[in-house]
Symmetry: C2
Subunit: 169 residues, 2 copies
Amino acid sequence: MTDQYSLVATERAARAHIEQLDPALDYESAQTVASIYRAANAVRGHATNEVLRPHDLSWTGFVVLWVVWIWDGLETRHAADAAAISKGTLTGVVKTLESRGLMTKQQRQDDRRLVDLRLTPEGIALMNEIYPKFNAIEVKVVAGLSSKRKQDLTASLRTIVQDIEQQKS
Amino acid sequence: MTDQYSLVATERAARAHIEQLDPALDYESAQTVASIYRAANAVRGHATNEVLRPHDLSWTGFVVLWVVWIWDGLETRHAADAAAISKGTLTGVVKTLESRGLMTKQQRQDDRRLVDLRLTPEGIALMNEIYPKFNAIEVKVVAGLSSKRKQDLTASLRTIVQDIEQQKS
DNA sequence: TCCTGATCGTTCGGCTACGAACGTTTGGGT
DNA sequence: ACCCAAACGTTCGTAGCCGAACGATCAGGA
């Protein structure tokens, strides 16, 4: 990021360009949305490089691993929801994790459409090792914000997510 | 999102699970990071479905289009920076957009390593049509926040991005 | 007991997405 | 004038990523 075409300069150019098109457009909201996406990208890339890649894990692979770690015996569809990816994507990711011996799939007896996901002992050991490192990155990434600002940030983002999911229905 | 394995429930389960592993882990920061990523995903998906897909555009395709729209005659590497994607990804996306007649590549005379990107008249017309719709989605998505909260949110996220980019060097 | 609709996980096609390696081009130092 | 390091955009391999379509399975009503 050369900082020439980064946040500040882009925002200035965008504001001028957009207001010329139609002054009624809401640039403040555009800025907010753009910063959400950019922050998510930055965090993802940073965590991937610093923690995940050395363990040969992708971001999504880690998230799926994490979700199953939290909810042991999770059904596939819930795992997809919790990881915020589609069912089709999950199938592929789980296959990758399974082939590495980190996760197992088991068909349920009472309803044979369902498949439960569980971590293997190796998977659990990996998470016990990696998660503290991952959390350390998370801490470092938001270290510039006070506790109150962190809470406000989280609350605002949660509001956005809930509003979107409501509009969906 | 069934809301069973969604934000609230997941956070409760995660907190219990993590504090058991090591009480020193910072759950507040984890929550913040998770909400950033989740919000970005939600916004992306929503905008894609509501505005972009009807025009057969992907999110990244739109972002690249937008960046070139703002900075007319942009060099490839700056476009990648501004769109927050890698150079390799940009090559493919530009190729797609070019094949649809929305964008042109032109090698620079003074430095033949560089390639300038420009929108075609069709590309400009498309952006003039789409961007107001896209902005309307952006507005709706953050409508639940007051202007001050929007500004705080943007500022906090910008702090995070800048901190990460600083740590990189 | 069928049959019909709903739901599950998988598969498929097409498009991102990244880092590494590559060939081309350029400018600086000698 | 010549090399050499640096920078550019492209290519490549691997993996994510989505929506749509699919077969398998289940539950409920006629």
